[in-house]
Structures are given as C-alpha cells and as structure tokens.
C-alpha cells in the first residue's frame, strides 16, 4: 500500500475544492478536465473527506490528484493514503518525517480492501488457513 504520496505546501493551487459537506456525485459529471481536487478536514477528527476521496477513486475513477488540506496531522497518513489521497498538506506544526514513518507501521497490510488494494484480505489470500 506504499502508494506515492506528495507533501505540498499551500502554494500550489488545486483545480477544484470540494466542500466538506458536498456530495461527490454532484461533481461527478464535471471531473473530465480536472487535474486536482482539494478536500478539506475542518478538524482531523471529521472524517467526511475520507468517504469523498474513496468515492472519487473507486466509484468515479478519478485519476488526478486528491489533496488533503485543513487540519491534517501525521497520524492520519495511513487512512489518507488508503482512501486515495496522493497529496497531503500537513498542518503547520506537523513533521513530514513522522508522517512518512506513520505509513510504515503495517507492512503486512490490512484486513479490508482500499483504493490501492481493492480486495479484502480474504479475497487476496493465496493460501487458505495461513
């Protein structure tokens, strides 16, 4: 699941910012020319953007950049990456080194599928009863 993720500062703009309470389906028809979408975490404990990102990737096959903005902390990295974010604008007090380390705690992967590994563990196991 070590998908490449880019750490960005606020200087590079995104093509589109989707409000935290907006339905992804409302922009689905307009994704054609969009290269990057910014999703917002008003608080890092507000997880709506996880669902938005996952829907953009899984249901609408959005291939451009999805950037996490707002109250984004290093410990969110595993969830962000697994839901399809590939660009992260960390909160000012957060360390990029810690964020990168946060991605390395589960080398064996996870139980359920995500945008990089669409199959849950049980469906991708090669050896039953391991």
């Amino acid at each position: 699941m070590s998908a490449p993720v880019r750490f960005v500062d606020g200087s590079a703009p995104v093509d589109l910012v989707l409000a935290n309470d907006a339905a992804v389906a409302s922009i689905a028809a307009d994704l054609g020319g969009v290269a990057s979408i910014g999703l917002l975490f008003p608080k890092w404990t507000d997880g709506r953007a996880y669902s938005q990102a996952r829907l953009l990737r899984t249901r609408h096959r959005f291939a451009g950049e999805i950037r996490a903005t707002g109250d984004v902390i290093a410990d969110m990295m595993p969830m962000l990456v697994r839901c399809g974010f590939d660009a992260v604008q960390l909160r000012a007090d957060q360390s990029q080194a810690v964020a990168e380390r946060a991605l390395a705690f589960f080398p064996q992967g996870h139980y359920q599928g995500d945008v990089h590994e669409p199959l849950p563990r049980f469906a991708r196991r090669t050896e039953v009863g391991a």
Binding site: D21, A23, W44, T45, D46, G47, R48, Y50, S51, R54, T58, R59, I73, D75, P78, M79, R82, C83, S95, V98, R101, A102, F105, F106, P107, Q108, H110, Y111, Q112, G113, D114, P118, L119, P120, R121, F122, A123, V128, G129, A130
Partner: protein, 776 residues
C-alpha cells in the same frame, strides 16, 4: 401486601410460598418429560447466599446502612500526577464519551421520551407463535448429525431451565431439537472449507477449534497496532503530540482518561475468551492494575488504575495472546457483541460468531470510517430469542432464513440509549449474508456523510434515522446498489463462500466435545437447595445432548457487578480448562459463561465454582443487576452506581425471596451515557446531577428484547428523581407493589407492569419518598 407498610427493612419478608420460577420449571418439565425435574420448591428460609464466600475484594456487604464505597474504588495510594480529575465538576455534560441525545426535555423526566407502543415496532419474526409455524421450513433439510432418540433421556436436555423462555417456546425448542436441526449451510460438508479442512473431520459440526484462532497475519496486525500506539504514546510523553490530538488516538486503542487514572478497555470480540487470554487479563490486573477488572455490558473488560506511562507495555502483553483495545473507545466502529450462547444455544438459526469475526476483521482500522461523527456499535444475534439486545444498537443484526431457506440478516439501524432512547427500526427484512459488509459500508457511508457533527448529543446515527425516516433507508439502499454496481468489480465487498467456510471452521465444536447420553436425572440432584437453585438459574440448555452452558455469576455480595479480581479471573480460567474446553463467554449482563460443560460434571463444577464464589444462584433474578462502574472511577458519571447496587443487593439477600420475586432486570447507570443499560431495565435507575448533587431517576417497564421482557422498549420514568438513600426503598416498594398486584406467582414483574400500568408502582414509589416528598 399493604403498600403503606413498604418501609425500609432488611430482614426477610413474608409473602413467598412457592418460587414462581420453580413452578414454571416444573410446568416445563412436565411438558418435556411428564415427570417433574425439580422437587417442590424449597420453602425453608435461607437468609444468606450460603454459597458466596468472602472474597478479598469489596467490603462487608451487610455492615451498615451508610453508603458503601467498594474497596477498589478507594485509591490505596496517592493517584499519580496524571490522575487528577480531568474535569472540575462531576457533571457529564460535555464529556467525551457520550451517546447522542435529543431535546433536553427528554432527559428531565417531565416528558417520558417514549411510552409503551409509541415507538414504531416492526413485527419481529420471532413472535411467540411464529417459530412453530416456520419450523417445518427450517427443518426441511436433514442433517447427518446423529440426533438421539425421542426417549425421555434425550429430552432431559430441556428439563434444564432455558433462561427467559416461556413454556410454549420450550415446547417448541424441545420438539425442534429432537426433530433434527439442520446444519447451517456453511457448515455442510460440501462447503469448500471441508474440502480444504476435510482432513480435520468428516463431520462438519465436530470440526473446528471452538474459537477463532489468530493466524500470523492477525498476530502481526495487533503487534503492529501496539507498535504504532507506542510510537504515539512516546511522542505524546515527549511533548511532540498534544494531549488533544493524542486523546483521539489513545481512545481508539481503548484508553480513556478517568477520574483517578486512565481506563483501559480491552476488546473481547463477541464476548468470547480463551482461558489463556483470561489468565493474561488476570496477570495485567495483578502486575499493572490494582488486582481487578470490570466486565462491561458490551462484553469488554476495563482496567481502572493503569498508569498511562505503562499503556504500551499493556498493549504488548495483550498482543501476545491476540488481544487488543482497538476501537473500544472513540468515534469509530466499536467492538461487536453477540449472544453469549452463540454456537451452543438450542434455539439458534445459525451461529453468529463467524459473521462477527468477519466483521471484526472488516471493521479493524477501516480507513474510511476512522473518524465518524460518533461511536458506532453493532450487535448480532443468531438465536430465535434476541439475547444480544439488537434493538438497542446502532446496527442490530438478526440471522434469519427466508422462505427459500437461505441465510441472511434482518437489519435494524438506529437504536441506542443515552438521552434519546430509541429502538432501531428494521430497514432491511432480509439481507443475504454475502452482502453483509457491502450493506454495512452503505450504512456507514451515509452516516459519515449525514451524521451530525455540530452537536455531540445528536451525533449518533439514530438521530438521522429518526429525522429522515424512510429517506434514510432509501439513501442506504441507493448507496448499497451503487457499491454493488459501480465500485471495483462488484465482487470485492461480498463475503465469499470460501471465506465464510474458512472462518466457520474456526468455530464449530471444540476438540474433545461431543454429544453423549444424558446422565440419569437422579444422579444430578444434590439434596442441597443451593445446588438445585443453581441448576435452575445458572445452567442453560445446550444444542448437544449431554452438554450444558453454565453461567458463573459475577453478582455476589460485597463485589461490584461485573468485577473480578485477578485470582477470580485465574479461577474462572481454571474452571474453563477443566470443564469447558478452555472457553468462556462474557454476557452483556456482566457475567461469565462456560459454554461446553458436560451435564455429568455439573455437580463437580458447582462445587468448584462455589468454592471460588461464582455459584450465586441468581441469574436473571433481582440481584443479577447490570451496573456501570459509576462515579467512583468514571469521570462522566453523575452518581455512584456501585453503592446503589450494593444497597439494593443488601435488601434482597434472601434467596427464597429472590426466587419468589422471580425474573427481573434491574439496570443501573451512573449517567445518561447508559453504560448500565438503565433504559432496558424492567427497573431502571439513572444517576442524574442536579445542583451538584446525586439524584436518581427510576424508570419502569424497559426491555432488552429477550423473550422474558418482550420487544425492546425504553422504560418509563416514574416521577421526579429520588435521593440516593431513597433508591433501595423505592426498589423495595416497587417489588412489594408487584407482589401485591401480580395475578399469580407465575406472573413476572415485567408482565405485571405491562398489565396494570405504572400507576400503582408510581404510587408505591412515591410512598417512600422522604427527602423528595412531593409538594403537589
């Protein structure tokens, strides 16, 4: 009985003749075998629960009328610096761990939130008469399991009391059982697991470990989580991670900050424990805590005195035996609960544990649902009787078979306690089991998107279920359809036959456990009344002939409900090894169950259980109270629920009287967060805070959904709150009123309340008011 005489007293009271319960047991026995199971109810007065030895935890139960603080609730040493109360006041408002609520008026008692029948209650498929009508469909397939003859010895299985089961249901169960129970489809031999695992046993039902055993992935996973938590803890202790940010992380690992020290909540998935796991919990209690733990209504175990600095060490110790605190707190999918008799109950449609395990894996660190508006709880029931309180959960799943005999779930969404007690409505009558995870993802995605985040009291899913009604269901169904249609290849979220078979193979019947002839009845009967009472209350029917499930009561004089010392945990683990294939269950009534006991060894078990204080014959009786830890340790609580429960238990120490009163659920919560499930108590007691003082709201007629109490419903509050020292009097007055009003000794408390209404009870309770005497 004269209500006016209902004054506080501790001595044994007159009024019992025959135990109501014994009468019904005899009736059941006659139905099943045409000869009585138990001798006539013992009418000799027993003034004390003789089989409850002194334990080293807790104070003397009969010492005084002063409020009693359990020993464990008193810090034996100065709390560590980190253990200062985190809030300056005792009020729970604004606390972190709360259940969603509604209008404040709901909590005042001025307007009871729900009256009987007012809440829409879709008909359950398990109405008393219905299972019999459906039985033929369920029984269409025959199994290879060699079921015994129809002799009285095989029927003797049912002589043992089935908790909360009416006579007519008992009849059904008895006949259903004898008439060959079909194996669940996933246990049939032709299923893929038995191609793979066929070498273990040719007999699907006999295979399995009895419990889920971690494989290397599972083990690596919990160790990885422990490493991640240690990293977060160390950054926090080094000042690199703020208390606020770290708070959310530690909660999702089971660490709350309590009044004196952090509380560690260890997940016990679907209440299933191996003896070695329980020994590890005992060791943690001994080495890291103050020598005890508390089993909760959500079948978890809580430690109250572990310094945060040692938290990571505890997580490592837990990981060694495949345990963890993942998602036992915080706004995420919590530990999943199930019927404590899953896999052993004779009235089971299908074993819920494989589905619970599949959901445990699916919900563990699900990236999309790591930051929900509020906590999210799932309960699963596989039996005809709802023993998992599914109506009270964010999602309640009931295993059912459709007309074609296929297995699936009836799905309830939006139940919950707290300020707005609600019974979750059925939003899907039949969900094929293969689609379970996809459907749950749809429910959670709708909740994640629409759940309220502006008000913690309105953030649970029940609020949007109630607000949106049919539109909520439509949203979920639309999302569900889109998942199946548009996401991935459309197969990913489906549970495969192979996976269900693989997980199911972990359960089944443990090695060494097999059906055997029922022992002769006479050999089982010890002359001691305590033993007969224990058989009557604590021993439960089993799907295998010659086997029983046995409840070890954690409700005994001098100890808080649900508490167990390290020595008691070790003793319970020893009993499990000796009598129950090394397996235990935790019930949502805060007791332990040994699920695989040989009927021939019941007496031997009783002797040993009694020696270590687990044999109080009070399961389902008044002293089998549900109670949260309360204000002694919990920083959210308004009131100290443990002393209240202790005082009530003290009033009803007489076993004859307890048995005469019969089945009743007294549930006590220290605050509106409802950890003590007061809403579902036949008598519910809720601690409330008024002007900085402890008051107690009493409600009547709640039900958790089990057969005994009828459909799940919140209780009705009976008038203004009572003062703390009035509560035992109130309970006593309510019981006296019940005995005066009941139409027959066999009419249970809840049935009398339903029949005559709350008014006579309200009047009786008002009659013992002193400090809170009504002015109007």
């Amino acid at each position: 009985m004269n209500l006016a005489s209902a004054s506080p007293r501790i001595s044994a009271r007159p009024g019992y003749d025959q135990s109501a319960n014994a009468v019904s047991s005899i009736a059941s026995a006659i139905v099943a075998s045409s000869r009585p199971f138990l001798p006539d109810a013992n009418s000799a007065a027993t003034t004390l629960p003789a089989d409850v030895p002194t334990t080293r935890s807790g104070t003397s139960p009969f010492s005084s009328s002063a409020w009693m603080t359990p020993m464990w609730a008193k810090p034996r040493a100065a709390p560590p610096p980190s253990a200062r109360p985190i809030r300056g006041r005792r009020g729970g408002a604004g606390g972190g761990a709360t259940i969603g609520g509604a209008d404040a008026a709901d909590a005042t008692g001025a307007t009871p939130p729900v009256v009987f029948g007012a809440l829409e209650q879709p008909a359950r498929p398990r109405a008393p008469s219905e299972p019999i009508a459906q039985a033929p469909a369920r029984l269409r397939n025959t199994s290879r399991r060699a079921h015994g003859d129809r002799s009285s010895s095989s029927r003797a299985l049912f002589l043992c009391r089935i908790r909360h089961t009416e006579v007519k249901k008992l009849w059904f169960v008895a006949n259903w059982r004898v008439a060959r129970v079909p194996l669940p489809s996933h246990e049939r031999r032709r299923s893929p697991a038995h191609v793979i695992l066929g070498q273990r046993s040719r007999h699907a039902d006999a295979s399995g470990f009895g419990m889920y055993r971690y494989d290397t992935f599972d083990r690596d996973f919990v160790h990885a989580r422990a490493r991640q938590f240690r990293d977060q803890l160390e950054r926090h202790l080094a000042g690199e991670l703020s208390a606020d940010d770290f708070g959310h992380m530690r909660r999702q690992n089971g660490w709350y900050v309590q009044r004196h020290a952090p509380m560690a909540r260890v997940a016990i998935p679907y209440g299933t424990l191996a003896s070695e796991q329980l020994r590890t919990l005992a060791r943690i209690a001994r080495d890291f805590d103050r020598g005890y733990g508390h089993f909760t209504t959500r079948t978890n175990l809580q430690f109250n005195w572990i310094p945060l600095e040692r938290a990571a060490d505890v997580m490592d110790a837990l990981a060694e035996v495949g345990m963890h605190g993942i998602q036992t707190c915080g706004n995420c999918i919590r530990n999943i609960t199930a019927d404590a008799f899953a896999g052993v109950a004779p009235d089971e449609v299908a074993d819920p544990r494989p589905f619970c395990e599949i959901m445990r894996q699916w919900s563990s660190l699900h990236p999309e649902f790591a930051a929900l508006p509020r906590k999210f709880k799932i309960a699963v029931n596989g039996a005809l009787e709802d023993r998992a309180a599914t109506g009270w959960y964010d999602v309640g799943l009931q295993l059912v078979r459709n007309d074609a005999g296929e297995l699936g779930f009836e799905v309830r969404v939006g139940g919950g306690m707290g300020r707005t007690p609600m019974i979750g409505p059925v939003i899907r009558e039949f969900l094929p089991w293969q689609q379970l995870l996809a459907y749950l993802e749809a429910v959670l995605r709708v909740y994640n998107e629409y759940g309220r985040r502006d008000n913690i009291w309105k953030a649970r899913i029940k609020i949007i279920v109630k607000a949106f009604g049919a539109e909520f269901t439509r949203n979920v169904e639309d999302e569900f359809a889109a998942i199946l249609r548009d996401d991935g290849d459309g197969l990913a979220p489906l549970i495969t036959e192979e996976e269900l078979a693989r997980v199911s193979a972990h359960f089944g019947t443990p090695p060494g456990v097999r059906e055997e002839p029922e022992p002769a009845l006479d050999a089982q009967i010890d002359t001691a009344p305590a033993y007969r009472r224990w058989l009557e209350r604590n021993v439960h029917a089993h799907r295998l002939s010659g086997r029983r499930a046995v409840t070890l009561s954690l409700k005994r004089a001098g100890q808080a409900p649900g508490d167990a010392t390290d020595a008691q945990m070790d003793a319970a683990a020893d009993l499990a090894d000796r009598f129950s294939a090394g397996e235990l269950r935790v019930t949502h009534q805060q007791n332990l169950v040994l699920p695989w006991v040989r009927a021939a060894e019941l007496h031997a078990l009783w002797l040993q259980a009694r020696a270590v204080g687990f044999a109080t014959p009070n399961i389902g009786l008044l002293t089998d109270m549900i109670c949260c830890p309360g204000g002694d340790v919990c920083s959210l609580a308004n009131a100290r629920s443990i002393p209240v429960s202790a005082h009530i238990a003290e009033r009803f120490a007489d076993l004859d009287e307890l048995h005469d009163i019969g089945d009743i659920a007294v549930n006590i919560s220290g605050c509106i967060n409802s950890c003590g499930h007061h809403h579902s108590g036949h008598i519910g007691v809720l601690g409330v805070d008024k002007d900085g003082k402890e008051w107690y709201q009493v409600s009547l007629g709640g039900a958790d959904g089990s057969t005994l109490g009828g459909p799940a419903v919140p209780g009705r509050i009976i008038g203004p709150s009572f003062a703390a020292d009035e509560v035992p009097d109130v309970v006593e007055a309510l019981i006296d009123a019940y005995r005066a009003e009941r139409s027959a000794p066999s009419e249970r408390f809840i049935e009398t309340v339903r029949r005559v209404g709350v008014e006579p009870f309200k009047a009786a309770a008002d009659g013992v008011r002193r400090m809170t005497a009504l002015h109007a």
